[in-house]
Amino acid sequence: MAVPADSRLAVLTEADEGRLATRLERLWATAPGIVGWLSTVDHKEIGKRYIVTAMLFLIAGGIEALVMRVQLAGPDQHLLTPEQYNMLFTMHGASLIFWYASPVLSGFSNYLWPLLLGSRDMAFPRLNALSYWIYLFSGLMLYAGFAVGIAPNTGWFDYVPAASRAFSPGPGIDLYAMALILLGISTTVGAINFIVTFLRTRAPGMSLNRVPILIWSTLTASAGNLLAVPAVSLAFFLLWLDRRFGTHFYDVPAGGHPLLWQHLFWMFGHPWVYAIVLPAMGMVSDALPVFCSRPLVGYTIVALATVLTMVLGFGVWVHHMFATGLPMLGMSFFSAASFVIVIPSAVAVFAWIATIAIGRPRLTVPFLYFASFIVMFVIGGVSGFMTASVPVDWQLTDTYFIVAHIHYVLIGINVFPVLGGLTFWFPKMTGRLLDERLGRYAFWLIFAGFNIAFLPMHLTGLYGMPRRIYTYGPHFGWETLNLVSTVGAFILAIGIGVFFVNILRSLRRGMPAGSNPWNAPTLEWSVSSPPPPYNFVVIPTVASRHPLWEQELDETEHRSVIRTGPALDEGRETLATTPVDADPDLVLKMPEDSLAPLLLALALTAIFVGLLASAWWSAATAAAAGLLIVFAWLWPRRSLAQVAEVSHG
């Protein structure tokens, strides 16, 4: 069937831009008012909400940490009872690892992906809203419990039998299980969205070798999540069955085994570690070169190393279990695999160093975060390298050496890039630059505080302090080191405080940024700051990895085209391209704003709250409501071109 030539596919010129922009604005803008706010599916809005929400969990987890640091500042302190301390360290770990570290990166990726890819939104805008709302509600659920004194108290990895009903009879573990399974749904939905967005909505010409590293790394993390998250959701679901219905997955007398938990948990847990650092590393790989005035050295091997890290990451889970009495041969294999995984990380480190070394660094605040991140990364890396050695790990594991390691990984490799990334992309998100001087104060406080708190902690660990003890006696020789760590933690907290003050101040008083304040090369900097709701007036066509540097680099025969291209203005539309070569494939009809994601997230949350409270009928009612919402959501619609065309006679 021949479709008549369509004006929306015509290549427009700059003369049409103003008229087109007005038309697109009307099509894509979110309605004002509370309903509009609740129903928006704009990836930029959702991305910002992810970041803000994750930051709130960062603050909550940080406050929990400070309280614990006060308790540990000296020997035999009794500010907290053992039970309170155990709840705090569990909530601290859960908040930061699950409700901060991954969602904050989802926030960046949500905000940036369509802008980097030259698209108008994610592949599934409504699913995007859904995954945010579920994330928010799962976190609120956990903290609502905490507010009334119900909280898990067995550590974020929640080993059975300590987490079984016999040893943890209260509802805290069930709350943790339900909240985490709910969060897992959000993560999975988000991962699917990223993968399909990557495969199908890259701008024409953005073939696989022209994709920013942030895209590669978030894609890798998403693929990892897709395959890893089921393990932890299942582990928690089986635990809940054991606790509520007397099944026997983990209890020995009836044929279960507690190590099944550890296998399932770490099959998830290790890939997860990469899922919460790779996108942050990707942010550095893309943003650091901007401040070195040159492209990243070794783009291809960095992209390959990113993917390889995740692949290997699925084969090293046993190194969390070296002390559980596994056969020596198996441990040797996992030990060697854990050494091998250093190699792709080393590729990235040397690529960053080479980029700095042969580039011309500009010492801006984001650069400070990214450059210091390299050192933090290596410190976290070498301590990880030590744990790969089975006999050494038998000593290191479960001591403060591991606490230091995990914080160099999570703060060094996640928080530092996030703060640098926030400083870097804040002007794009808000149209205003962060204050440079305040930013420097914040950076140095954070850098100093972090290292004062956590560098000595390696030694605390080598001196034998076990993790997760609520107090310690004066005769172990740990008190000075702990006092130093506590002081460092407070300096770090003050630094984070200054960072947030800077954000709040600059939101109103920051210098106007313009579209490309850093002279950065990727597509998001080609649009105004903040970008319009439709992102691009016309769908750009990409000719290289650095569309905005082509003039200066002068390497490619062709130039990317940003100001002219398909208008796609008959309703909300964007272009689908082929997975490998990014050739135009379809015109996508994108959904309108909708309350359905919010309502479905509420229904899902009600199901899980119902299960938690053993209110089976409430859960069933919520499930029925959820099904109805899905049914309405998926009903084929003419506006999305999902319905058979009726001939007009």
Partner: protein, 200 residues
Amino acid sequence: MADTVIAPAADLPIGPMGHRALGWWGMLCVIATEGAVFVYLLFSYAYLALQPHAAWLPEGPPSLTLALPNTAVLVASSFIVAWGERRIRAGATRHAWLALLGTIGLGIVFVAVQLTEWHDKTFGIATSSYGSLYFTITGFHMAHVAAGLLMLAALALWTRLGLFDSRRNAPIAIGAIYWHFVDVVWLAVFFTFYLSPRLV
């Protein structure tokens, strides 16, 4: 210095089309993650089965009398839905509708037989780790069958309402691939519970 302008062909299709629809790719991802759920479930079975036990199988290897024909029923339903998908692409809406109804019918038969099997077991979910695994894993599969049946029912309704034709039928392709997945998972579950104990 030439500008690269890829002018989209004038006949670029508008809206989701068959396997080019984003939903199709999304469903492949759903299948990957749900597949992982079953991999971890079956890993749990293998892990616990390999621990030393006094008596792992409470009733010996499960009987094949009902399970084998039931497996055939489910496999047959996959072929029917595949036929329906072909028919809708040929524009035969009514055939597609009948195929969806037929698939639903066989799915219901499968569920009914499976419920009978559950009912006839002398052990329960809380009897032993084997019982926990048996009912949880077959229960997970049943939940997926139920989800598939709901999908097929919606598709049948929409097909009957004439919402699909030879061009606009991506939801049927998406529903069908999910149903094939449910089918393949059953084969893995069937092998694990019904066949593997006979092999050792």
